[in-house]
Each structure stands twice: as structure tokens, then as C-alpha cells.
């Protein structure tokens, strides 16, 4: 079987699987990293949101063959080390605002939030309501308001 190598949370990993298998399943089922969640498998619920080279993306919709040794994949588990802390400021904001209910979507929400703040800044502004309206991650418990509050707080410390 073909081998595929990429960087996951700072470590080089190799999986031995058909290249058509989506990255989410390589991460979860083969590498045992379970922070990214399955919620739809077709890139609409965004529960599996991770970062690839610092940008938010959904590994349910990327073939493992389409990432390479130079690609750095970060899941929620690896987010704190990107800032050299025990918790990323966005995770701390999530705690401060007591966002999570069932918690299932929250790893993806946090990864999306970090990317959204960076995206806004790259465009020369802080996150605005219309930016937050663009976040597609579903929270079936309906924590949307606390998510918005937490993103603004987290951004202040990013």
C-alpha cells in the first residue's frame, strides 16, 4: 500500500493507506487523533476543522494523497504549541465565556475562530459581525452568541 507522509501537530507521521482515503480518517482512525470530529463528511458541518499551514480547512474533504511531507496539519490537540502555551488564547476565551455545551463542535469552532481572526487581520481589520456571520461551523446546541463573544475576547490576546 502507498505511504503518505505529512506533519501532524509538529511531528512527521506516515500512514500506509489507499491515497483516496480522506485525511480525516487517516488522522482519526489510523493515527488515533480524535479532536477533529465527524459530523457530515461532505464539508458542510465543519466539525472536523483543522489547520493546514496555518489556514482553516476540513480534512473530511481532502485526500490523504493530496498532502505532502511539507504540509503542516494542526488539530485542536496541536493548537496550544503553536503559541508555546498550555492553551491557545482562543481556548482560554472559550473557557472564560463557558462556551461549550455538548462540546462536540467546539474543537472545530475554535480552529475556525483562530483562522477567522487571522484572515480579518490579513485584510487589515479586526473581526466584525459580518466576518462572524461567515463562520459555517454548526453548533447544534446553539452556543452561537457565546462563540461570538469568545472570538472577540480571544482575538484581543492573539
Amino acid at each position: 500500500m502507498p505511504e503518505h507522509t505529512f506533519t501532524l501537530n509538529g511531528e512527521q507521521v506516515t500512514v500506509d493507506v489507499d491515497g483516496d482515503v480522506r485525511l480525516l480518517w487517516a488522522i482519526r482512525d489510523l493515527l488515533g487523533v480524535t479532536g477533529p470530529k465527524y459530523g457530515c463528511g461532505i464539508n458542510v458541518c465543519k466539525a472536523c476543522t483543522c489547520h493546514i499551514n496555518g489556514k482553516a480547512f476540513n480534512p473530511c474533504s481532502v485526500r490523504v494523497a493530496d498532502v505532502g511531507p511539507d504540509d503542516e496539519i494542526t488539530t485542536i490537540e496541536g493548537l496550544p504549541t503553536t503559541v508555546g502555551e498550555d492553551l491557545h488564547p482562543m481556548q482560554q476565551a472559550w473557557l472564560d465565556h463557558d462556551v461549550a455545551q455538548c462540546g462536540y463542535c467546539q474543537p472545530g469552532q475554535i480552529m475556525a475562530a483562530v483562522a477567522k481572526v487571522r484572515q480579518a487581520r490579513a485584510e487589515g481589520h479586526e473581526v466584525r459581525d459580518e466576518d462572524l456571520d461567515e463562520i459555517r461551523n454548526i453548533c447544534r446546541c446553539g452556543t452561537y452568541n457565546r462563540i461570538r463573544d469568545a472570538i472577540r475576547s480571544g482575538a484581543e490576546h492573539m
Partner: protein, 778 residues
């Protein structure tokens, strides 16, 4: 010993004799204190609608066995030598925050910091009979006293042990944050006392509970105890469990609801596909087991299966609606003054999906003489008994582990994913980790049944003389009973469905619905069509009240208009309960009711009372063309609720921050049910298949301004929270929409009639995962 038999009360001193509670000290190596669950009749009766008399459904021998075990109904709080306490809770945590509430109750009575209390979810405990069911927003109501009693008994034992150790009298000792302090400053940690305080034999003890005036934890806003795990990705759901050799397993499902497997035409070929280990037909489809879920999806797409008919083949929304209309009980002609005016309305509520974000999952390990399963379950005892029956094993040979759920909303009352996983494990002789695809959830999952609600009110002058409501619904499956297979059997008494309707549906309807206004002669009746299992049905975050109350509140606005009164002032005049009046006034004040609103926007205001609580919701909605028609890729936009103010009185809020969260969530459900979320039945299948066509509230639908006011304590006893917020939220959105557009909506959700998406194919049953994910990176 801190054990006063009859506290001395000085006449006129204002001291009230405290209630004493009975609990147990259990024999063991460390301190374990316990209290009986469900023995206070007032609590049990109000929280759970009356269950059939046990004598009707229960073998006498079973009762005798249970009666012989006086400590069988206990919940227990343990204190460990490391200074922590633990509680194995016989309930399901699926986001409601009940593990946090339980920890707060223990922290209060035990005087131990919250972070030294571990609350876990108990395995199925059949001796609890119907006391291990998570539903009806009942957990805090049912657990409030027993958990505190157990913790208070533990504290008493710790003090006694400390008195021995410190050679002091108990009354001179002060417990505080896990340490017992003597007047001279000496201290001893709970951990050092845990073994000395342990019971040598099980004995019954009395205790007092802290009065509200001494609360330092209960009633204060606290963050969730499981939040750190959630935000770090460490929180484990059934799908994340590392059970050796429990390989990913999915099911290829039929193209129509409850279709059957005819033949599998290429099983051998599919079994040879990369990663696949097993292909086996089961009762509900064709199961595929493999190395990754992704390979299971690919294999399912390659399967060639001949399918047999389902239960509703060829039927569409309009057929079901026509059947409902045929079964509607006529509204009576009110026998009132001929000068009375009549206000009428008929409302349709479409099928809805529970749609928890974590799909159905179950891990199963079936052996020849035993079985072990792991799953998020609201009704684990029933699950255990069903699995035992399925495998022909004694109940105690089946272990059921209750996992934290990624949402439940009523769906996890039903054990069907476990039954499937067990069937696959038995047939393959291997462990499985079974997961439903999102499409399976929409198309073969449980649905809140389609229903109509008709109302006729008569009024004369300023009085409402009569108010009749006739609710007609596709049968709701209540055979999860109250969590126990024997009560569940009552729902299946032949002819099919009748038992369900008479025993459960009517009982639940009559014990949960009300009209919270002083309206003369009020009647409310339910009629159901079809058998309980024609559709895979179930209740969906709140039972019938989102629909029942929305219909009522729209008519109340009409009545108010007829009498020339403003919706708020009319309700003020007619609400039948002081607590409801207080929350109504609160939202009107905080939400600035009656303020000038631009064209195409409006406010809506409604109330609700249930679960021993009262709630009012004021919303503002924007139905302007630029808002309604705004475009977002693969999304429904439509009217937007821009603001919501909720005032809630649960009697007493154990954790106001958690209560606020439940109200925010209930609001999002109410918005979804009023505006966007429904299933379309066409030719025997639901057309929706994922989140891009089943439109639950998203960020772009959510109001930017949400305020929740938690009212000061009223009754002093906690009420339910999980479902309380939904009916009033849905009703207020509907009322606001009617006022903004000038047209009263009569069909929900309001966007149901225009199909806003291209349905996914039914064969193959699952879509391929896209490969262009990097294109959308940001």
C-alpha cells in the same frame, strides 16, 4: 456527634425547624454515602408523567426481588484518600450541564472545591427501574435532594472522623474546601479521613441540608466542569473510544424509510475492497466493517443491493397531511352568547429531525456468553434489556456503558444503533465501532412527527369565553417507556400503536400541555394516526409544546387584535400565573416592548410554563427584502431574528450560567423550528440528507443581541431547563413574523413549501466525500 434529634426552637426566634433527610452510609474501604433516588413522591410525580401502575406490567416476583434489596435505588457519593470525591451519575450528559450541576450540589454540601469532584456517567443499572432515564428536563429536579443528602451524610462522617483524630467535639470543627479545621488552627484534609470515615456496615443515617441562606456554590454562576476537556479535544465520545479491534462499521441503508434488504448482489467483491474486513446483511441494511470509516463509505457506495419495501413507500408530505386531516377531531360549536365572535386558526407543523451533531454511534463486543456496549444513551436500562433479549442472554451478562453524548435532543432515548452494532458484532464475531452517516440521520433517523393544531376561541367584549385546541399528529414513538423494558412493553400492547397512544401519548399530552391564560372553558385534545412505528418517530427537544404553544400564541395575538389590545397588554391582563406575569413584564421592560420599529420588522412576545418554571421571550425579526434575500453559498437565509430577550424563572437556578446557556440553545431551536428546519417526505423517503439541506440555525441566522434574565428564586426548588426555552422562542418568532409581514403563518417552518435544494440521490445511499477541501481553506 452532629445528630440533633429535635432541634430546640425558641418561640418567636424566627428559627425554623429544618427538614431532616434519610440516607445511608455504605460499608466499604473508603467513605461512601448514599441516598435513595425517586422516593419523594411529589418530585417523581411532577417530573415524570404517571407511569402505568407497576402491578399492571410487572411480575410480582420482580417486585419482590427489588423489595428485598432496600439499598437498590441508591445514588452514592464517595470520598477518596486522595481528597477527591466522585459520583457515578445514572443520567446522560449530552450538553445540558448536569454533570456540572451534580458537582455543584456535592461541592456545596460537602464543602469541597469543584475541581476535586469527579462526576462520571453510570453504566446501566437495572435495579433503578425507571430512574435512569434522561428526559423531560427532569435531572436537576430529581437529583437535587438525593445528591445533597448523600454529600451531607459524607460531610457528617468526615467531621466525626476528624473529631476522633483531633480529639475535639464535632460542633467545634469547621469543614471548608476539603479541610476540617479545629478552633486552635489544626487542620486535617478530607483525604486523610476518607478511610477512617468509611462504613464498617451499611447503616441508615439522618442528616440536615444546608439552608439556602448558607449556599456558597448552589445558585452562583459556575463554568462547566468538563469545559477544559471540550476545548482541548480531549473530551471523548463513543466514536473516540479506543476499544481494541473495534473497527469502523457503517450500514448501507435502503432508499425508502424502513425498507428491507432483499439480496446483496456483490458482497464478495465489496469484501475485497481496500481496508474492508466484513460485509454482512443485518435487519436494517447491509453492514460494512473496515479499517477506516472513509473506506466503509466507499464500500457502501459500491454495494449492489436489491431492496424490499418500506413502511411508507410512495407517500409524500401531502398524503400524510391528508391522513391527519381525516383524523382531526371536530372543533365544537361553542355554546355561548350568539353575539360572541369567533377566532380560528389551523396550523401545520412538518417533520423535523433531532439532528444531534454527533451521529449515532455504538461500540459493541458480543461474545458467546456476554456482551459489552458503549454508547450515548438516555435510556440505558432499556438498552441493556433489549440487547439481552436480542442475544438470548441474561440481563446481567450485558454491560452497557453510557458515554457522553454530542447532543441528544430526544434521539438517544432509542437504542437502535446499539441493536445494530450488536447484530453486526454477533454476525461477524468481531468488535465493531458502528457509526451512522449524516445522511442516515436525516433519512432513517427519528423524526418529530408531522402534526396539525387547530384552535377555535370565542370572545365577547373583553372576555374569552372558550378556547378549544385539537392537536392531530402522526404517532410519536414513546416505547422507550420510562427507560425500562417492562413499561416499554405497555406501549406495544396490540393492536399496534393503541397501547402507545393510550398509555403514553395521551398521558404525555395531557400532563404537559396547558393554556397559560384565563380563557373561560379550555379544552385540549390529541388524536394520533398510524402505528407507533410506521415512521421512526420520537420527541425532539420538547415534546408537543413548541407546536401546541406556537399555535396558541398566534391565536392569542389575533384575539388581542380583535379586542383592540396590544399583544403585551393583552397577555398581561390574561396570564393565569404570577410567575408568568413577572417574566412577561421583565422581557417587556428589558426588551423595550412597543418601541418604534422600521418597516418589515416587528417584535413578538409570548410566555410559557412547564417543568415547574415560567419563561417569556421577546424577539425582534427583520423580514425586509434585503435581509430575506441575502445570499450565502449552500445556505438558507430568509428572515433574521435580530434580537431576543428571555426572562426565565425555574423556581431556583442551581447554576444560573448553565441555565442561561440552555435558554440560548432553546432560542436557536425555536428559531430553527419556526423558520428553517424541516424534513420533506417524498415518495417514501425524506429528501434532506445533511446540514446543507436540513437547515438548523447557523451563525448567519442567529440574533446578534441575546439577553437572558434569570429571575431571582421564587419557589426555592429547581425546575427543568433543557427544553423550557423552545416553545416560547418558537412562538415569539412566529408572532413577530406575523406582525412584520402582516400575514399570520399557518405552516411551519415558514420556508417548508419552497424546496431550497437539490436532493441527494438515494442509491447509492451515501454521497462521496468531496476532494476539493483545500480550495476552501482560509
Amino acid at each position: 456527634m452532629n445528630h440533633p434529634r429535635s432541634p430546640h426552637v425558641e418561640p418567636g426566634s424566627g428559627t425554623v425547624e429544618r427538614r431532616r433527610f434519610l440516607g445511608y452510609l455504605l460499608a466499604g474501604p473508603t467513605l461512601v454515602a448514599a441516598a435513595q433516588l425517586g422516593v419523594e413522591p411529589t418530585r417523581a410525580a411532577a417530573a415524570v408523567p404517571s407511569v402505568p401502575e407497576p402491578s399492571e406490567v410487572y411480575d410480582l416476583n420482580d417486585l419482590l426481588t427489588l423489595a428485598a434489596t432496600p439499598t437498590s435505588n441508591l445514588i452514592a457519593v464517595a470520598v477518596h484518600p486522595d481528597g477527591t470525591a466522585s459520583f457515578d451519575m445514572p443520567r446522560a450528559e449530552s450538553g445540558q450541564g448536569i454533570t456540572t450541576v451534580a458537582a455543584m450540589l456535592i461541592a456545596e454540601e460537602l464543602d469541597l472545591p469543584l475541581d476535586r469532584i469527579n462526576v462520571t456517567l453510570a453504566d446501566a443499572r437495572p435495579e433503578l427501574v425507571w430512574n435512569q432515564l434522561t428526559g423531560g428536563s427532569n435531572t436537576t429536579i430529581a437529583m437535587y435532594a438525593p445528591i445533597r443528602v448523600a454529600a451531607a451524610i459524607a460531610r457528617g462522617r468526615l467531621l466525626k472522623a476528624a473529631a476522633m483524630k483531633l480529639d475535639e467535639t464535632v460542633t467545634r470543627l469547621t469543614p471548608h474546601l476539603g479541610v476540617v479545621r479545629a478552633p486552635d488552627g489544626r487542620t486535617v484534609d478530607y483525604g486523610e479521613l476518607a478511610e477512617a470515615a468509611a462504613g464498617r456496615e451499611t447503616e441508615q443515617l439522618e442528616t440536615e441540608l444546608k439552608p439556602e441562606s448558607e449556599f456558597r456554590v448552589i445558585g452562583t454562576p459556575r463554568n462547566r466542569t468538563d469545559a477544559l476537556e471540550a476545548v482541548t479535544g480531549r473530551k471523548k465520545y463513543a466514536m473516540d473510544l479506543d476499544v481494541a479491534d473495534a473497527l469502523p462499521t457503517m450500514v448501507c441503508r435502503p432508499p425508502t424509510i424502513k425498507g428491507t434488504v432483499g439480496s446483496v448482489n456483490n458482497a464478495a467483491e465489496v469484501r475485497r475492497m481496500p481496508g474492508i474486513t466484513d460485509v454482512v446483511a443485518i435487519s436494517t441494511g447491509v453492514a460494512v466493517r473496515g479499517r477506516t470509516f472513509g473506506q466503509c463509505v466507499t464500500a457502501i457506495r459500491a454495494l449492489d443491493v436489491s431492496w424490499g419495501p418500506g413502511t411508507v413507500d410512495g407517500m409524500s408530505d401531502e398524503d400524510v397531511l391528508a391522513d391527519i386531516r381525516k383524523a382531526e377531531i371536530p372543533l365544537a360549536v361553542p355554546d355561548v352568547d350568539p353575539l360572541a365572535e369567533t377566532v380560528e386558526g389551523e396550523f401545520t407543523f412538518h417533520f423535523r429531525n433531532n439532528a444531534a451533531l454527533e451521529p449515532q454511534t455504538a461500540v459493541a463486543d458480543v461474545r458467546s456468553d456476554s456482551a459489552e456496549v458503549w454508547a450515548p444513551l438516555q435510556s440505558p436500562i432499556l438498552c441493556q434489556e433489549l440487547v439481552a433479549e436480542q442475544l438470548g442472554l441474561p440481563v446481567d451478562a450485558v454491560t452497557v456503558h453510557v458515554e457522553q453524548a454530542g447532543g441528544a435532543f430526544g434521539r438517544r432515548f432509542f437504542s437502535d444503533p446499539v441493536i445494530e452494532a450488536v447484530e453486526v458484532s454477533r454476525k461477524t464475531g468481531k468488535r465493531v465501532k458502528l457509526m451512522w452517516h449524516r445522511v442516515d440521520e436525516c433519512r432513517q433517523g427519528r423524526t418529530h412527527p408531522m402534526c396539525t393544531s387547530r384552535i377555535r376561541a370565542s370572545l365577547l367584549g373583553d372576555e374569552v369565553l372558550t378556547f378549544e385546541q385539537r392537536h392531530t399528529s402522526v404517532a410519536t414513538d414513546y416505547t422507550m417507556g420510562f427507560g425500562e423494558v417492562i413499561t416499554a412493553m405497555a406501549g406495544k400492547i396490540p393492536p399496534l400503536g393503541q397501547g402507545n397512544e393510550l398509555v403514553y401519548s395521551d398521558t404525555i399530552f395531557l400532563t404537559t400541555v396547558n393554556v397559560p391564560y384565563k380563557f373561560g372553558a379550555v379544552t385540549q385534545l390529541l388524536n394520533e394516526i398510524y402505528e407507533y412505528d410506521t415512521f421512526p418517530s420520537g420527541s425532539n427537544r420538547n415534546l408537543v409544546n413548541p407546536d401546541v404553544r406556537t399555535a396558541q400564541e398566534l391565536i392569542v395575538d389575533r384575539i388581542a387584535a380583535k379586542t383592540g389590545k396590544d399583544p403585551y397588554r393583552f397577555r398581561r391582563e390574561f396570564v393565569d400565573d404570577e410567575r408568568v406575569l413577572a417574566v412577561l413584564d421583565k422581557v417587556a421592560e428589558v426588551g423595550d416592548w412597543g418601541r418604534e420599529m422600521p418597516a418589515n420588522t416587528a417584535q413578538g412576545i409570548t410566555v410559557h410554563k412547564e417543568y415547574k418554571g415560567a419563561i417569556a421571550t421577546l424577539v425582534e425579526i427583520d423580514c425586509s427584502p434585503e435581509t430575506v434575500n441575502r445570499e450565502i453559498r449552500n445556505a438558507v437565509t430568509g428572515p433574521r431574528v435580530t434580537k431576543a430577550v428571555i426572562a426565565v424563572d425555574t423556581g431556583f437556578a442551581v447554576n444560573p450560567r448553565g441555565l442561561e446557556a440552555q435558554m440560548q440553545g432553546g432560542l436557536m431551536d425555536g428559531i430553527a423550528q419556526a423558520l428553517t428546519s424541516s424534513l420533506h417526505l417524498r415518495d417514501g423517503v425524506f429528501l434532506e440528507g445533511s446540514w446543507d439541506d436540513y437547515f438548523y440555525t447557523r451563525q448567519w441566522n442567529a440574533p446578534l443581541d441575546v439577553q437572558v434574565v434569570v429571575m431571582p428564586p421564587t419557589t426555592g426548588e429547581p425546575g427543568g431547563a433543557g427544553e423550557l426555552g423552545v416553545p416560547s422562542a418558537m412562538a415569539s418568532v412566529a408572532c413577530a413574523y406575523a406582525r412584520a409581514t402582516g400575514t399570520m403563518p399557518t405552516s411551519f417552518p415558514i420556508n417548508h413549501d419552497a424546496l431550497g435544494f437539490a436532493p441527494k440521490p438515494t442509491v447509492p445511499p451515501l454521497p462521496a466525500s468531496p476532494t476539493n477541501g483545500l480550495k476552501y481553506a482560509y
